[in-house]
Symmetry: C2
Subunit: 325 residues, 2 copies
């Protein structure tokens, strides 16, 4: 059951890199990488803590997928191509079955996106998984949060609220058949980062981020960075039928929370000029991800308004998640 630190790295995390940009991968004091001329480097890090982001006993293969997925989603949100990852992990033990499954999940997603694991650090401690991702974008083409203008359309990819609704069902806060739960649960446990869509939206979207903490909270970041307001139509937010039907029932509160404050879907939310509608649709088609126009950017004074099915502004917006609130 117990293997040494270096053997652990060798056995589960060191693989030959197919990427010619990897000059030197796992096994030295640092990795050496060859940046693409004319590109900017894009760096992000995400930390996932047992008991906070996942439960003790969570499926290790799914965790390996998710800890990388959330980082790839940050690259997608910039319109960047992810290239290289570093994994730092604290583990309570060196359980080889856990390591094998975790490594399998991580590398399956890495391979799907052409990402090479080039370094890391392992230590003993309360389970904590921290992935750093390095990507690239042609200089000047990254999509920031600060480029939204009044009159822009507001778009989201995929569907919103699936992950939080799955979590609510798993926690017994709403009743759902196993067949209905399965696809939502897959969205919670194996989010698909919208990397191809992000890249396709270079030169098309004016401002973008990924929805990790909840739609209104995250859209709020775009509004703040861009100095604008926005209006969103609740009825246009794309969501699963299981969520849509709950909007019209006694579970409307839960449904609103999922739609407006549910994180973990890792969809993209972006603003684009109205003249870009065809190009946005084309980007979605090319990437194989639905894109839906849910509202529009307004002057700053308008703040953020969510209109209900009758066109009335919601008086109170569910709050986005804050780790220290």
């Amino acid at each position: 059951m117990s293997i040494g630190e270096f053997e652990l790295i060798d056995r589960y995390f060191r693989r030959p890199a197919a990427d010619p940009g990897v000059v030197l991968g796992v096994g030295d004091d640092a990795a050496l990488l060859a940046p693409t001329p004319g590109h900017e480097l894009v760096l992000a890090v995400d930390m996932m803590v047992e008991g906070r982001h996942f439960l003790p006993g969570a499926d290790a293969e799914g965790l390996g997928h998710k800890v990388l997925a959330v980082n790839l989603s940050d690259m997608a949100a910039m319109g960047a191509r992810p290239r290289w990852a570093l994994l730092a992990g604290a583990l309570p033990d060196s359980d080889e079955a856990w390591l094998a499954a975790f490594s399998r999940g991580l590398f399956a997603l890495a391979d799907a996106h052409g990402v090479a694991l080039v370094g890391g650090d392992t230590t003993r401690g309360p389970r904590n998984l921290c992935v750093t991702i390095a990507g690239e974008v042609p200089a000047g083409t990254a999509i920031r949060r600060s480029g939204a203008l009044p009159g822009d359309d507001v778009w989201v990819s995929g569907s919103i609220g699936d992950a939080m609704l799955a979590l609510a069902a798993l926690q017994g806060r709403t009743a759902m058949s196993p067949a209905a739960l399965a696809p939502l649960r897959a969205r919670l446990e194996r989010p698909q980062p919208r990397v191809a869509l992000g890249i396709a939206l270079r030169g098309v979207a004016g401002a973008m981020l990924d929805v990790s903490d909840g739609l209104t909270g995250d859209l709020g970041h775009i509004l703040e960075a861009s100095g604008v307001g926005a209006s969103v139509d609740l009825a246009r937010i794309p969501c699963a039928s299981e969520l849509r039907m709950r909007l019209a029932t006694g579970e409307r509160g839960l449904a609103l929370s999922c739609l407006l404050a549910g994180g973990d879907d890792y969809e993209l939310c972006f603003a684009a000029r109205a003249a870009m509608r065809e190009r946005v649709e084309a980007a979605g088609s090319a990437a194989g991800v639905p894109v839906t126009r849910i509202g529009s950017i307004a002057p700053r004074e308008a703040g953020l308004t969510v209109l209900d099915e009758q066109g009335r502004a919601l008086a109170v917006l569910p709050r986005a998640f804050d780790h220290f609130a």
Copy 2:
């Protein structure tokens, strides 16, 4: 006492970057950085866990220093110039006094090395601090572990074993006056990464790493990567007088452990051709760090030998630290 996650980042970790290479720093989905043409990117990550790498209640300012120092030391070990850092942290609470002190220690060292903090992630959880460092080196000039040749000299910077001796004294495993302990404790709590020396050794050292897990264990990594052996003279390993005197007493076992298996000094250990001796000395002088020749590289069959004061091989070498052993 309790502030929100975004306010926490704003207040303690977001500062204007003086580095024109920082196109976009803290505050978006990822940082945007302008790599230097003709250079390779150098990436490393280190994770420090409460109860493992530091004790509960450890001085927060010192922690801020150390968590970055160990990463800068990885850059030094490659001969790279550190440029950009990402901080991911799990914290049990949002204690502002702790955050202010931690941030002070981190930024003081970052400023001293011209490193910009460009991104991060904060979450609640058992205290865990994870820094990713990105550096640069002119393409082809990084100093790897794999370039040592039989006949090379083996060198170390600074002095070895200080940090472990300080730890032993703090834990009551050896008696020492407060005046004698103070400089050793500073070495344990505020290690000075040998960045300038690492850069000065480009084109001079054939193989290099930093001593983080203990001299023989870390030198062993050079030997393995280079396919060579080595012989080291115990009497030539530079160390504090408090350590040297213990070699001749009933505390010889502790002293040997500190010298050969004590980590946490973050000195550089490197191999260089004998013809490079003057250039090695010049690099040490230029960087203001003593460099000492402690042995020589041998053919692989020789393995690793440590010779005692009488020139006899030590029968047993103290073991390097392994988080999962």
